[in-house]
Protein backbone atom coordinates (compact mmCIF):
# COMPACT_ATOMS: atom_id res chain seq x y z
CA UNK A 1 0.00 0.00 0.00
CA UNK A 2 1.20 3.47 -0.87
CA UNK A 3 0.72 5.58 2.26
CA UNK A 4 1.44 9.31 2.22
CA UNK A 5 1.57 11.18 5.53
CA UNK A 6 1.30 14.98 5.39
CA UNK A 7 3.53 16.70 7.92
CA UNK A 8 3.65 20.38 8.76
CA UNK A 9 6.43 22.13 10.57
CA UNK A 10 4.98 24.57 13.11
CA UNK A 11 6.44 26.93 15.68
CA UNK A 12 6.84 25.52 19.17
CA UNK A 13 3.56 26.24 20.99
CA UNK A 14 5.48 26.96 24.18
CA UNK A 15 7.00 30.05 22.57
CA UNK A 16 5.50 33.49 22.03
CA UNK A 17 4.22 33.59 18.43
CA UNK A 18 3.80 36.81 16.48
CA UNK A 19 2.56 38.01 13.12
CA UNK A 20 4.65 39.91 10.58
CA UNK A 21 3.61 43.57 10.29
CA UNK A 22 2.48 44.38 6.76
CA UNK A 23 1.08 41.06 5.56
CA UNK A 24 -0.14 39.50 8.80
CA UNK A 25 1.54 36.16 8.16
CA UNK A 26 3.07 34.10 10.92
CA UNK A 27 6.67 35.04 11.65
CA UNK A 28 8.15 31.55 11.26
CA UNK A 29 11.80 32.47 10.71
CA UNK A 30 12.49 33.53 14.28
CA UNK A 31 10.86 30.51 15.91
CA UNK A 32 11.96 26.94 16.55
CA UNK A 33 10.17 24.59 14.20
CA UNK A 34 8.75 21.28 15.34
CA UNK A 35 6.60 18.65 13.71
CA UNK A 36 2.97 19.61 14.33
CA UNK A 37 2.08 17.44 17.27
CA UNK A 38 -0.99 15.84 15.72
CA UNK A 39 1.08 14.90 12.66
CA UNK A 40 3.25 12.67 14.85
CA UNK A 41 0.16 10.55 15.44
CA UNK A 42 -0.42 10.51 11.68
CA UNK A 43 3.16 9.31 11.05
CA UNK A 44 2.80 6.59 13.68
CA UNK A 45 -0.51 5.45 12.23
CA UNK A 46 1.01 5.30 8.74
CA UNK A 47 3.97 3.25 9.98
CA UNK A 48 1.67 0.87 11.87
CA UNK A 49 -0.55 0.32 8.85
CA UNK A 50 2.49 -0.30 6.60
CA UNK A 51 3.88 -2.76 9.15
CA UNK A 52 0.59 -4.63 9.39
CA UNK A 53 -0.46 -4.59 5.74
CA UNK A 54 2.76 -4.02 3.84
CA UNK A 55 3.59 -0.93 1.84
CA UNK A 56 5.62 2.20 1.85
CA UNK A 57 5.28 5.42 3.84
CA UNK A 58 6.07 8.70 2.10
CA UNK A 59 6.25 11.96 4.05
CA UNK A 60 4.78 14.97 2.24
CA UNK A 61 5.57 18.39 3.63
CA UNK A 62 5.07 21.87 2.28
CA UNK A 63 7.22 24.59 3.78
CA UNK A 64 10.41 26.61 3.56
CA UNK A 65 13.90 25.10 3.61
CA UNK A 66 13.79 24.88 7.38
CA UNK A 67 11.01 22.27 7.16
CA UNK A 68 13.70 19.80 6.04
CA UNK A 69 14.53 19.28 9.75
CA UNK A 70 11.01 18.06 10.43
CA UNK A 71 11.02 15.89 7.31
CA UNK A 72 14.25 14.29 8.48
CA UNK A 73 12.75 13.60 11.88
CA UNK A 74 9.72 11.93 10.28
CA UNK A 75 12.08 9.78 8.22
CA UNK A 76 14.02 8.86 11.33
CA UNK A 77 10.80 7.54 12.87
CA UNK A 78 10.73 5.01 10.03
CA UNK A 79 9.10 6.52 6.93
CA UNK A 80 10.71 5.41 3.67
CA UNK A 81 11.04 8.60 1.68
CA UNK A 82 9.82 12.16 1.48
CA UNK A 83 8.53 14.83 -0.83
CA UNK A 84 9.22 18.45 0.09
CA UNK A 85 7.04 21.00 -1.67
CA UNK A 86 9.16 24.12 -1.49
CA UNK A 87 8.83 27.37 -3.38
CA UNK A 88 9.12 30.99 -2.32
CA UNK A 89 5.81 31.54 -4.09
CA UNK A 90 4.05 29.37 -1.50
CA UNK A 91 4.84 31.63 1.46
CA UNK A 92 1.67 33.05 2.99
CA UNK A 93 -0.63 30.40 1.53
CA UNK A 94 -4.01 30.09 3.21
CA UNK A 95 -5.90 26.82 3.60
CA UNK A 96 -7.35 26.98 0.10
CA UNK A 97 -3.90 27.44 -1.48
CA UNK A 98 -2.21 24.92 0.83
CA UNK A 99 -4.74 22.26 -0.10
CA UNK A 100 -4.21 23.04 -3.80
CA UNK A 101 -0.46 22.52 -3.52
CA UNK A 102 -0.78 19.37 -1.41
CA UNK A 103 -3.41 17.91 -3.75
CA UNK A 104 -1.19 18.59 -6.77
CA UNK A 105 1.73 16.87 -5.06
CA UNK A 106 -0.43 13.90 -4.03
CA UNK A 107 -1.66 13.44 -7.58
CA UNK A 108 1.90 13.47 -8.82
CA UNK A 109 3.27 11.12 -6.14
CA UNK A 110 0.27 8.77 -6.17
CA UNK A 111 -1.40 7.33 -3.03
CA UNK A 112 -3.72 4.70 -1.66
CA UNK A 113 -4.05 6.31 1.72
CA UNK A 114 -3.34 9.89 2.80
CA UNK A 115 -3.01 10.47 6.55
CA UNK A 116 -2.87 13.87 8.29
CA UNK A 117 -3.16 15.29 11.76
CA UNK A 118 -6.66 16.74 12.19
CA UNK A 119 -5.34 20.29 12.56
CA UNK A 120 -2.13 22.26 13.00
CA UNK A 121 -1.29 24.05 16.22
CA UNK A 122 -0.43 27.28 14.40
CA UNK A 123 -3.34 28.11 12.09
CA UNK A 124 -5.79 25.68 13.73
CA UNK A 125 -8.27 25.93 10.86
CA UNK A 126 -8.89 22.16 10.82
CA UNK A 127 -10.14 22.41 7.22
CA UNK A 128 -7.24 21.03 5.18
CA UNK A 129 -8.06 17.29 5.46
CA UNK A 130 -11.64 17.90 4.26
CA UNK A 131 -10.35 20.19 1.51
CA UNK A 132 -7.93 17.52 0.29
CA UNK A 133 -10.70 14.91 0.15
CA UNK A 134 -12.82 17.35 -1.84
CA UNK A 135 -10.01 18.26 -4.23
CA UNK A 136 -8.88 14.67 -4.77
CA UNK A 137 -12.44 13.34 -5.06
CA UNK A 138 -11.79 10.54 -2.55
CA UNK A 139 -13.64 9.57 0.66
CA UNK A 140 -13.15 11.78 3.69
CA UNK A 141 -12.44 9.72 6.80
CA UNK A 142 -11.52 12.47 9.21
CA UNK A 143 -11.15 12.91 12.98
CA UNK A 144 -10.26 9.25 13.44
CA UNK A 145 -9.51 7.86 16.88
CA UNK A 146 -9.16 4.35 15.39
CA UNK A 147 -8.36 3.14 11.88
CA UNK A 148 -8.92 -0.39 10.57
CA UNK A 149 -7.93 -1.61 7.13
CA UNK A 150 -9.38 -4.79 5.65
CA UNK A 151 -8.41 -5.39 2.04
CA UNK A 152 -9.39 -2.26 0.16
CA UNK A 153 -11.86 -1.14 2.84
CA UNK A 154 -11.03 1.31 5.55
CA UNK A 155 -13.17 1.89 8.63
CA UNK A 156 -12.59 4.57 11.21
CA UNK A 157 -14.06 5.67 14.49
CA UNK A 158 -14.83 9.35 13.88
CA UNK A 159 -14.89 11.59 16.95
CA UNK A 160 -18.08 13.67 16.99
CA UNK A 161 -19.18 16.43 19.33
CA UNK A 162 -21.38 14.02 21.25
CA UNK A 163 -19.55 10.71 20.94
CA UNK A 164 -18.36 8.91 17.85
CA UNK A 165 -19.48 7.55 14.50
CA UNK A 166 -18.24 4.49 12.66
CA UNK A 167 -17.44 5.44 9.06
CA UNK A 168 -16.44 3.16 6.19
CA UNK A 169 -15.14 3.72 2.68
CA UNK A 170 -12.99 2.16 0.01
CA UNK A 171 -9.40 3.12 -0.72
CA UNK A 172 -8.01 5.45 -1.90
CA UNK A 173 -9.04 7.77 0.94
CA UNK A 174 -7.99 10.70 3.11
CA UNK A 175 -7.78 9.99 6.83
CA UNK A 176 -7.13 12.55 9.56
CA UNK A 177 -6.28 11.43 13.07
CA UNK A 178 -6.90 12.92 16.49
CA UNK A 179 -4.63 13.02 19.47
CA UNK A 180 -4.09 9.80 21.41
CA UNK A 181 -4.99 7.48 18.56
CA UNK A 182 -1.62 5.84 19.23
CA UNK A 183 1.67 6.37 21.00
CA UNK A 184 4.11 7.93 18.50
CA UNK A 185 7.48 6.19 18.54
CA UNK A 186 10.73 7.98 19.23
CA UNK A 187 13.40 7.81 16.53
CA UNK A 188 16.07 5.26 17.39
CA UNK A 189 19.78 5.95 16.81
CA UNK A 190 19.66 3.50 13.93
CA UNK A 191 16.61 5.29 12.55
CA UNK A 192 18.35 8.65 12.75
CA UNK A 193 21.38 7.33 10.89
CA UNK A 194 19.22 5.62 8.26
CA UNK A 195 17.16 8.78 7.72
CA UNK A 196 20.22 10.63 6.46
CA UNK A 197 20.33 8.38 3.40
CA UNK A 198 16.61 8.34 2.64
CA UNK A 199 15.53 10.14 -0.53
CA UNK A 200 13.84 13.56 -0.26
CA UNK A 201 12.39 14.82 -3.51
CA UNK A 202 11.90 18.58 -3.78
CA UNK A 203 8.99 19.80 -5.87
CA UNK A 204 8.53 23.41 -6.95
CA UNK A 205 5.38 25.14 -8.15
CA UNK A 206 6.53 24.75 -11.76
CA UNK A 207 7.06 21.03 -11.24
CA UNK A 208 3.55 20.78 -9.83
CA UNK A 209 2.21 22.81 -12.77
CA UNK A 210 0.71 25.27 -10.30
CA UNK A 211 0.21 28.90 -11.18
CA UNK A 212 2.04 31.14 -8.71
CA UNK A 213 -0.86 33.60 -8.78
CA UNK A 214 -3.16 30.92 -7.31
CA UNK A 215 -1.09 30.22 -4.20
CA UNK A 216 0.98 32.02 -1.61
CA UNK A 217 0.15 35.44 -0.31
CA UNK A 218 -0.61 36.63 -3.87
CA UNK A 219 -3.30 34.01 -4.35
CA UNK A 220 -4.68 33.98 -0.81
CA UNK A 221 -8.48 34.05 -0.82
CA UNK A 222 -8.42 35.43 2.70
CA UNK A 223 -6.67 38.51 3.93
CA UNK A 224 -5.66 39.85 7.32
CA UNK A 225 -6.75 43.48 7.32
CA UNK A 226 -5.29 44.27 10.72
CA UNK A 227 -4.12 42.63 13.90
CA UNK A 228 -3.12 43.62 17.39
CA UNK A 229 -1.79 41.90 20.46
CA UNK A 230 -4.69 41.24 22.77
CA UNK A 231 -4.29 43.33 25.90
CA UNK A 232 -2.96 40.89 28.50
CA UNK A 233 -5.49 39.84 31.09
CA UNK A 234 -4.86 41.50 34.39
CA UNK A 235 -4.48 39.39 37.48
CA UNK A 236 -7.43 39.94 39.78
CA UNK A 237 -7.56 39.24 43.48
CA UNK A 238 -5.68 36.28 44.87
CA UNK A 239 -6.72 35.07 48.31
CA UNK A 240 -5.22 32.35 50.46
CA UNK A 241 -7.48 29.69 51.89
CA UNK A 242 -7.71 30.00 55.67
CA UNK A 243 -10.42 27.44 56.12
CA UNK A 244 -13.14 29.55 54.51
CA UNK A 245 -11.73 29.73 50.97
CA UNK A 246 -14.63 27.82 49.43
CA UNK A 247 -17.17 30.12 51.03
CA UNK A 248 -15.20 33.18 49.92
CA UNK A 249 -15.06 31.89 46.35
CA UNK A 250 -18.83 31.36 46.50
CA UNK A 251 -19.11 34.99 47.61
CA UNK A 252 -17.23 36.07 44.49
CA UNK A 253 -19.49 33.97 42.27
CA UNK A 254 -22.57 35.46 43.92
CA UNK A 255 -21.21 38.99 43.55
CA UNK A 256 -20.76 38.33 39.80
CA UNK A 257 -24.28 36.84 39.66
CA UNK A 258 -23.17 33.36 38.69
CA UNK A 259 -25.15 31.91 41.60
Amino acid sequence: MNIVVCVKQVPDTAMERTLTPGDGTLDRASLDGLINELDEYAIEEGLKIAEAHGGEVTILSMGPGKAAESIRKALSMGADKAVHVMDDGLAGSDALATSAALAAALRQVGFDLVILGSESTDARTGVVPAMLAERLGVPQLTLASKVDIAGSDVTIRRVTDDGYAVVSASLPAVVSVVEKINEPRYPTFKGIMAAKKKPVQVLTLAELSLDASAVGLAGAATWVSDFAARPPRQAGVVVKDEGDGGAKAAGFLAERKFI
Binding site: R158, P232, G243, G245, A250, R256, F258
Partner: protein, 321 residues
Protein backbone atom coordinates in the same frame (compact mmCIF):
# COMPACT_ATOMS: atom_id res chain seq x y z
CA UNK B 1 -30.84 43.00 0.47
CA UNK B 2 -28.67 39.99 -0.30
CA UNK B 3 -29.32 36.77 1.51
CA UNK B 4 -26.87 35.39 4.04
CA UNK B 5 -26.96 31.62 4.37
CA UNK B 6 -26.79 30.16 7.87
CA UNK B 7 -26.30 26.41 8.22
CA UNK B 8 -28.46 25.29 11.15
CA UNK B 9 -27.14 22.95 13.81
CA UNK B 10 -29.94 21.04 15.41
CA UNK B 11 -30.72 17.85 17.25
CA UNK B 12 -34.16 16.23 17.57
CA UNK B 13 -35.86 19.28 16.11
CA UNK B 14 -34.27 21.53 18.67
CA UNK B 15 -32.21 24.42 17.31
CA UNK B 16 -28.77 24.64 18.87
CA UNK B 17 -27.88 27.95 20.45
CA UNK B 18 -24.98 28.51 18.07
CA UNK B 19 -27.48 28.76 15.21
CA UNK B 20 -29.15 31.72 16.93
CA UNK B 21 -25.70 33.28 17.34
CA UNK B 22 -25.09 32.83 13.61
CA UNK B 23 -28.44 34.45 12.83
CA UNK B 24 -27.48 37.48 14.91
CA UNK B 25 -24.25 37.81 12.91
CA UNK B 26 -26.05 37.17 9.60
CA UNK B 27 -28.52 39.99 10.24
CA UNK B 28 -25.63 42.48 10.24
CA UNK B 29 -24.67 41.36 6.74
CA UNK B 30 -27.99 40.92 4.96
CA UNK B 31 -31.20 38.95 5.08
CA UNK B 32 -30.69 35.71 7.05
CA UNK B 33 -31.76 32.48 5.33
CA UNK B 34 -31.35 29.30 7.32
CA UNK B 35 -30.32 26.09 5.59
CA UNK B 36 -31.81 23.13 7.44
CA UNK B 37 -30.50 19.64 6.73
CA UNK B 38 -32.51 16.55 7.65
CA UNK B 39 -35.76 16.30 9.60
CA UNK B 40 -37.27 18.55 12.27
CA UNK B 41 -37.52 21.89 10.46
CA UNK B 42 -41.21 22.32 11.26
CA UNK B 43 -40.45 22.18 14.96
CA UNK B 44 -37.42 24.46 14.64
CA UNK B 45 -38.72 27.15 12.27
CA UNK B 46 -40.56 29.19 14.91
CA UNK B 47 -37.44 29.51 17.01
CA UNK B 48 -35.43 30.60 13.96
CA UNK B 49 -38.04 33.27 13.25
CA UNK B 50 -37.58 34.69 16.75
CA UNK B 51 -33.95 35.40 15.89
CA UNK B 52 -34.41 37.04 12.52
CA UNK B 53 -34.52 34.19 10.00
CA UNK B 54 -36.44 35.39 6.95
CA UNK B 55 -36.31 32.10 5.07
CA UNK B 56 -35.68 28.49 6.00
CA UNK B 57 -34.49 26.26 3.17
CA UNK B 58 -35.25 22.71 4.15
CA UNK B 59 -33.55 19.72 2.55
CA UNK B 60 -35.00 16.75 4.38
CA UNK B 61 -32.77 13.93 3.19
CA UNK B 62 -31.27 11.03 5.16
CA UNK B 63 -28.00 11.58 3.27
CA UNK B 64 -26.88 14.26 5.73
CA UNK B 65 -26.65 11.85 8.62
CA UNK B 66 -25.77 8.85 6.47
CA UNK B 67 -22.55 10.24 5.01
CA UNK B 68 -19.68 12.37 6.28
CA UNK B 69 -20.09 16.15 5.64
CA UNK B 70 -19.89 16.05 1.82
CA UNK B 71 -23.69 16.13 1.29
CA UNK B 72 -24.07 19.29 3.38
CA UNK B 73 -21.27 20.97 1.39
CA UNK B 74 -22.97 19.92 -1.83
CA UNK B 75 -26.32 21.37 -0.75
CA UNK B 76 -24.72 24.66 0.30
CA UNK B 77 -22.79 24.88 -2.97
CA UNK B 78 -26.01 24.53 -4.98
CA UNK B 79 -27.69 27.20 -2.83
CA UNK B 80 -24.69 29.51 -3.25
CA UNK B 81 -24.96 29.12 -7.01
CA UNK B 82 -28.71 29.66 -6.90
CA UNK B 83 -29.06 32.53 -4.40
CA UNK B 84 -25.69 34.33 -4.74
CA UNK B 85 -25.62 35.06 -0.99
CA UNK B 86 -23.46 37.78 0.55
CA UNK B 87 -21.89 35.20 2.87
CA UNK B 88 -22.30 31.71 4.30
CA UNK B 89 -22.07 31.28 8.07
CA UNK B 90 -21.56 27.91 9.74
CA UNK B 91 -20.92 26.89 13.34
CA UNK B 92 -17.24 26.58 14.13
CA UNK B 93 -17.57 23.01 15.30
CA UNK B 94 -15.27 20.33 13.91
CA UNK B 95 -17.96 19.22 11.49
CA UNK B 96 -19.00 22.77 10.62
CA UNK B 97 -15.42 23.64 9.71
CA UNK B 98 -15.11 20.58 7.50
CA UNK B 99 -18.29 21.55 5.63
CA UNK B 100 -16.91 25.09 5.27
CA UNK B 101 -13.65 23.72 3.88
CA UNK B 102 -15.34 21.57 1.24
CA UNK B 103 -17.70 24.40 0.30
CA UNK B 104 -14.71 26.72 -0.14
CA UNK B 105 -13.19 24.33 -2.69
CA UNK B 106 -16.49 23.81 -4.51
CA UNK B 107 -17.15 27.53 -4.83
CA UNK B 108 -13.54 28.77 -5.10
CA UNK B 109 -14.08 30.93 -2.04
CA UNK B 110 -12.02 32.01 0.92
CA UNK B 111 -12.91 30.52 4.28
CA UNK B 112 -12.33 32.05 7.71
CA UNK B 113 -12.50 29.80 10.75
CA UNK B 114 -12.77 30.42 14.47
CA UNK B 115 -14.40 33.83 14.16
CA UNK B 116 -15.50 35.27 17.50
CA UNK B 117 -17.30 38.17 15.87
CA UNK B 118 -18.51 39.08 12.40
CA UNK B 119 -19.47 42.61 11.34
CA UNK B 120 -20.07 44.39 8.05
CA UNK B 121 -17.02 46.32 6.86
CA UNK B 122 -17.06 49.70 5.13
CA UNK B 123 -17.95 48.04 1.82
CA UNK B 124 -20.63 45.93 3.50
CA UNK B 125 -18.58 42.74 3.14
CA UNK B 126 -18.03 40.69 6.29
CA UNK B 127 -15.04 41.27 8.54
CA UNK B 128 -14.26 38.45 10.95
CA UNK B 129 -12.49 38.84 14.24
CA UNK B 130 -10.29 35.86 15.03
CA UNK B 131 -8.17 35.20 18.09
CA UNK B 132 -4.82 33.79 16.97
CA UNK B 133 -2.44 31.63 18.95
CA UNK B 134 -4.95 30.93 21.66
CA UNK B 135 -6.08 34.51 21.90
CA UNK B 136 -2.69 36.21 22.24
CA UNK B 137 -3.35 38.19 19.06
CA UNK B 138 -6.63 39.48 17.67
CA UNK B 139 -6.86 39.48 13.90
CA UNK B 140 -9.45 41.06 11.59
CA UNK B 141 -9.77 39.14 8.35
CA UNK B 142 -11.70 39.46 5.13
CA UNK B 143 -12.38 37.19 2.19
CA UNK B 144 -11.33 38.55 -1.16
CA UNK B 145 -12.30 35.68 -3.45
CA UNK B 146 -15.68 34.05 -4.06
CA UNK B 147 -18.42 34.01 -1.44
CA UNK B 148 -17.16 34.66 2.10
CA UNK B 149 -17.51 31.47 4.17
CA UNK B 150 -17.13 31.99 7.88
CA UNK B 151 -17.09 29.43 10.69
CA UNK B 152 -18.09 31.16 13.91
CA UNK B 153 -16.98 29.89 17.29
CA UNK B 154 -19.94 28.80 19.44
CA UNK B 155 -20.71 30.95 22.48
CA UNK B 156 -18.80 33.98 21.18
CA UNK B 157 -21.66 36.14 19.88
CA UNK B 158 -24.67 36.92 22.09
CA UNK B 159 -27.87 35.94 20.29
CA UNK B 160 -30.26 38.88 19.89
CA UNK B 161 -33.97 38.32 19.40
CA UNK B 162 -35.31 39.83 16.15
CA UNK B 163 -38.52 39.02 14.33
CA UNK B 164 -38.22 37.23 11.00
CA UNK B 165 -40.74 35.57 8.69
CA UNK B 166 -38.98 32.18 8.82
CA UNK B 167 -40.77 31.16 5.63
CA UNK B 168 -40.14 27.49 5.07
CA UNK B 169 -39.18 26.51 1.54
CA UNK B 170 -38.52 22.87 0.66
CA UNK B 171 -35.40 22.21 -1.40
CA UNK B 172 -35.13 18.92 -3.21
CA UNK B 173 -31.79 17.30 -2.62
CA UNK B 174 -30.14 13.99 -3.33
CA UNK B 175 -26.43 13.65 -2.67
CA UNK B 176 -24.24 12.69 -5.62
CA UNK B 177 -22.41 9.36 -5.54
CA UNK B 178 -19.18 11.24 -4.89
CA UNK B 179 -20.66 12.77 -1.75
CA UNK B 180 -21.69 9.33 -0.53
CA UNK B 181 -18.17 7.89 -0.50
CA UNK B 182 -17.76 7.86 3.29
CA UNK B 183 -20.74 6.07 4.85
CA UNK B 184 -21.71 6.34 8.50
CA UNK B 185 -22.63 2.84 9.65
CA UNK B 186 -23.14 3.54 13.35
CA UNK B 187 -23.47 6.50 15.71
CA UNK B 188 -22.65 6.23 19.38
CA UNK B 189 -23.63 9.07 21.70
CA UNK B 190 -21.47 9.30 24.79
CA UNK B 191 -23.32 9.50 28.09
CA UNK B 192 -23.05 13.06 29.28
CA UNK B 193 -26.16 13.21 31.40
CA UNK B 194 -27.78 16.56 31.91
CA UNK B 195 -24.67 18.65 31.51
CA UNK B 196 -24.50 21.32 28.81
CA UNK B 197 -22.16 20.96 25.82
CA UNK B 198 -18.63 21.98 26.68
CA UNK B 199 -18.35 24.55 23.88
CA UNK B 200 -21.82 26.01 24.42
CA UNK B 201 -21.88 26.13 28.22
CA UNK B 202 -22.20 29.43 30.12
CA UNK B 203 -20.03 27.98 32.89
CA UNK B 204 -17.20 25.47 32.53
CA UNK B 205 -15.48 23.84 35.50
CA UNK B 206 -12.18 22.23 34.51
CA UNK B 207 -9.96 20.01 36.59
CA UNK B 208 -6.24 19.47 36.21
CA UNK B 209 -3.35 17.44 37.49
CA UNK B 210 -4.09 18.59 41.03
CA UNK B 211 -7.13 16.32 41.20
CA UNK B 212 -4.65 13.45 41.41
CA UNK B 213 -6.75 10.55 40.13
CA UNK B 214 -9.91 9.45 38.40
CA UNK B 215 -11.51 9.27 41.85
CA UNK B 216 -10.21 12.73 42.76
CA UNK B 217 -11.60 14.19 39.54
CA UNK B 218 -15.18 13.44 40.67
CA UNK B 219 -14.96 16.51 42.88
CA UNK B 220 -14.91 18.58 39.66
CA UNK B 221 -18.09 16.93 38.38
CA UNK B 222 -19.87 17.65 41.67
CA UNK B 223 -18.98 21.35 41.55
CA UNK B 224 -19.97 21.52 37.88
CA UNK B 225 -23.35 19.94 38.60
CA UNK B 226 -24.00 22.35 41.46
CA UNK B 227 -23.34 25.24 39.06
CA UNK B 228 -25.16 23.68 36.10
CA UNK B 229 -21.83 23.78 34.29
CA UNK B 230 -20.01 21.68 31.72
CA UNK B 231 -16.96 19.72 32.80
CA UNK B 232 -13.58 20.25 31.17
CA UNK B 233 -10.17 18.79 31.83
CA UNK B 234 -6.56 19.71 31.27
CA UNK B 235 -4.36 17.61 29.07
CA UNK B 236 -2.60 16.07 32.07
CA UNK B 237 -5.95 14.62 33.14
CA UNK B 238 -6.99 13.25 29.76
CA UNK B 239 -3.50 11.88 29.09
CA UNK B 240 -3.63 10.05 32.42
CA UNK B 241 -7.02 8.64 31.49
CA UNK B 242 -8.83 10.17 34.48
CA UNK B 243 -11.40 11.77 32.20
CA UNK B 244 -12.36 11.19 28.54
CA UNK B 245 -10.28 12.88 25.91
CA UNK B 246 -13.13 14.77 24.24
CA UNK B 247 -13.40 17.03 27.29
CA UNK B 248 -9.85 18.33 27.02
CA UNK B 249 -9.58 22.12 26.94
CA UNK B 250 -6.44 23.60 25.42
CA UNK B 251 -4.22 23.95 22.39
CA UNK B 252 -4.83 20.41 21.16
CA UNK B 253 -8.35 20.10 22.57
CA UNK B 254 -11.49 22.23 22.69
CA UNK B 255 -11.48 26.00 22.77
CA UNK B 256 -14.09 27.39 25.13
CA UNK B 257 -15.29 30.89 25.76
CA UNK B 258 -17.85 30.73 28.59
CA UNK B 259 -19.06 33.51 30.87
CA UNK B 260 -17.28 31.79 33.75
CA UNK B 261 -14.33 29.41 33.55
CA UNK B 262 -13.16 27.72 36.72
CA UNK B 263 -9.70 26.15 36.59
CA UNK B 264 -9.23 23.78 39.49
CA UNK B 265 -5.82 22.22 40.08
CA UNK B 266 -4.63 23.56 36.72
CA UNK B 267 -1.32 25.44 36.60
CA UNK B 268 -2.26 27.41 33.47
CA UNK B 269 0.54 26.60 31.03
CA UNK B 270 0.41 28.39 27.67
CA UNK B 271 -1.10 25.33 25.97
CA UNK B 272 -4.06 25.28 28.37
CA UNK B 273 -4.44 29.05 28.21
CA UNK B 274 -4.86 28.76 24.43
CA UNK B 275 -8.14 26.93 24.97
CA UNK B 276 -9.75 29.19 27.57
CA UNK B 277 -8.27 32.66 27.80
CA UNK B 278 -11.12 34.34 25.95
CA UNK B 279 -13.47 33.30 28.77
CA UNK B 280 -15.22 36.33 30.28
CA UNK B 281 -14.42 35.58 33.93
CA UNK B 282 -11.74 33.19 35.15
CA UNK B 283 -11.58 31.71 38.65
CA UNK B 284 -8.55 29.63 39.63
CA UNK B 285 -8.04 27.29 42.54
CA UNK B 286 -4.53 25.95 43.03
CA UNK B 287 -2.34 25.12 46.01
CA UNK B 288 0.76 26.56 44.32
CA UNK B 289 0.77 30.36 44.76
CA UNK B 290 3.32 30.58 41.92
CA UNK B 291 1.04 28.86 39.38
CA UNK B 292 0.85 30.96 36.17
CA UNK B 293 -2.95 30.72 36.19
CA UNK B 294 -3.01 33.32 38.99
CA UNK B 295 -1.40 35.85 36.64
CA UNK B 296 -4.55 36.11 34.56
CA UNK B 297 -7.39 34.83 36.74
CA UNK B 298 -9.99 37.36 37.88
CA UNK B 299 -10.26 35.55 41.19
CA UNK B 300 -7.56 33.26 42.52
CA UNK B 301 -7.77 31.04 45.55
CA UNK B 302 -4.58 29.50 46.90
CA UNK B 303 -5.50 26.36 48.73
CA UNK B 304 -5.91 22.59 48.67
CA UNK B 305 -8.70 21.85 46.24
CA UNK B 306 -9.83 18.87 48.30
CA UNK B 307 -10.66 21.27 51.15
CA UNK B 308 -11.85 24.21 49.12
CA UNK B 309 -13.97 22.63 46.40
CA UNK B 310 -16.36 20.61 48.61
CA UNK B 311 -16.95 23.73 50.71
CA UNK B 312 -17.58 25.76 47.57
CA UNK B 313 -19.92 23.10 46.20
CA UNK B 314 -21.93 23.06 49.46
CA UNK B 315 -22.08 26.84 49.49
CA UNK B 316 -23.27 26.98 45.86
CA UNK B 317 -25.98 24.40 46.58
CA UNK B 318 -27.04 26.32 49.69
CA UNK B 319 -27.25 29.65 47.89
CA UNK B 320 -29.11 28.12 44.99
CA UNK B 321 -31.52 26.73 47.57
Amino acid sequence: MAEVLVLAEHADGEVKKVTLELLTAAKRLGSPSVVWTGPGADAGAARLGEYGAEKVYVADSPDFSGYVVAPAAELLASLVADKAPAAVLVAGTTEGKEIAGRLAIKTGSGVLTDAVNVVAGDDGAPVAEQPNFGGAITVHSVVRQGTPIIAVRPNAISPEAAAGAAAVEAVSFAASDAAKAAAVTERVVAEKGERPDLTEAQIVVSGGRGTGSEEGFKIIEKLADALGAAVGASRAVTDAGWYPHQFQVGQTGKTVSPQLYMAVGISGAIQHRAGMQTSKTIVAINKDPEAPIFEFADYGLVGDLFNVVPQLTDEVEKRKG
